[in-house]
Symmetry: C2
Subunit: 241 residues, 2 copies
DNA sequence: TACGATTATATGTCTAGACATATAAGTCAA
DNA sequence: TTGACTTATATGTCTAGACATATAATCGTA
């Protein structure tokens, strides 16, 4: 089931931060929701105010919450900042935009890792892998196609998971905590297969995100996402100085 | 000249953070450099350890420095994480990759803002603007073409700056502190003009980064960067949990 | 009713301590 | 020289307070 991300013995402020983060990410506390006041959290966790303040300050720095004097702290709406880097879950991304989410499993294969699979996952030896192809749509319009490889030696449960209804990204997010990820963003032009899946013209531009995820030096999954390049845009907003 | 970013009366920990950040960004403290120990900063600023700790913690959270127990705090090398989001300066990006940087001014125009200019800068009224087109190359190979608009009402000095040798991005970075920026990443296919500038085929995929920069709600510049989509890749690496 | 002054309150910053913990560096023996 | 053990030290976390400050809410007045 869902595990706490911090491994052994999370410090108190990290636990507080993780608790709040979880409620925000699961949607239990939606955008606009007022999270408990510092003094309430102090009472709940039985610690000093500086400790909860540190947790809340970090959440504010990560733009997950907004803090307003006298008013309290509020869950922010879908993070710009997250858009490029932190969004591991397209379903969350789309629903956060207030659009209806659609999902369709195109293909799923369980196989012994081929040389290409091992190369893609960046491992020398790998037993079995699951290869998944699926499509995400927003308001019935194709939003992205996903081509994913999961290393079963890292995530054995994925062999039996039912990806026909739940997108693999969401499943992984709730079953496997990750510690490191890398995104590579590039552009390609659509080939026949891509064009058909995204309902765009052959030769149309596509934005590509390749994402690799590890947990403590162990590869979990490699995924390639293709977005229509002229309609979809990844926005990242952040603060300087 | 270069101003402190925080406006009126920065709090102490912010001043400490800004001081260190400045030295890192200017290169005075290069990657690997050990920044002063907490107790040294405590002595220098005459404050408690918690105050410098807060400043350093935030810098660590922003991945500008790395903190190692017993060893100290060190300037990190050009952030992966920065690659997509924070890099305002292509020259720095290229030299950080260990490649030789080349720059070429293609065009520069000073004009009263047109409707299109105002729209692009997101302002209602604007006096004059400078429009700059230039090309960046790495190891003599076209790396990106830049198409930039600078609002002269925000940055009057830009009217007389010499962009024939210094790229506008670098110039701005050293002359105008920004407080907010937004990146939009998309993909297009190269038209004739782009194809020629980047030395690629017409119809080849291009990665597009549109970047808008503000200083306290005041637009500074809007820039569009075009990268060859199949050769250049933007990498963002980061930690979870 | 509308507006201006006052007040209560939640966050923002800071202090002077404390103990925990990872680890670089030094020490010593095999 | 190498490996195991010890020690010193910088960071990591935490406390129980303090005062500052922005502002939502209230109250009073025109």
């Amino acid at each position: 089931m869902s595990l706490v991300t911090d491994a052994d013995k999370p410090t108190l402020y990290k636990r507080i931060r993780a608790d709040i983060e979880k409620r925000i990410l699961t949607g239990e506390w939606p955008p606009g929701h007022r999270i408990p006041f510092e003094h309430e959290l102090v009472a709940r966790y039985g610690c000093s105010r500086m400790t909860v303040n540190k947790a809340l300050s970090e959440l504010a720095q990560a733009d997950l919450i907004e803090r307003r004097r006298r008013a309290g702290s509020f869950v922010r709406r879908p993070q710009h900042q997250s858009a490029v880097l932190k969004i591991a879950d397209i379903r969350a991304e789309i629903t956060a935009l207030g659009r209806s989410y659609g999902y369709e499993l195109i293909g799923r294969k369980l196989r012994a890792a081929t040389a290409a699979d091992r190369d893609r996952l960046g491992v020398k030896k790998a037993g079995k892998v699951v290869a998944i192809t699926c499509r995400h749509s927003a308001d019935k319009v194709p939003f992205a196609v996903e081509d994913r490889l999961i290393d079963l030696s890292s995530v054995p449960d994925a062999a039996t998971a039912d990806f026909s209804r739940e997108p693999p990204g969401s499943w992984l997010l709730h079953h496997v905590p990750w510690t490191e990820a890398e995104h590579t963003i590039s552009a390609i032009v659509a080939d026949d297969r891509t064009a058909e899946a995204l309902d765009i013209a052959v030769g149309a531009p596509c934005l590509v995100i390749d994402r690799y995820t590890w947990r403590s030096a162990r590869t979990i999954t490699a995924v390639r996402l293709l977005y229509p390049g002229d309609s979809h845009r990844l926005v990242a907003r952040f603060k300087g100085g």
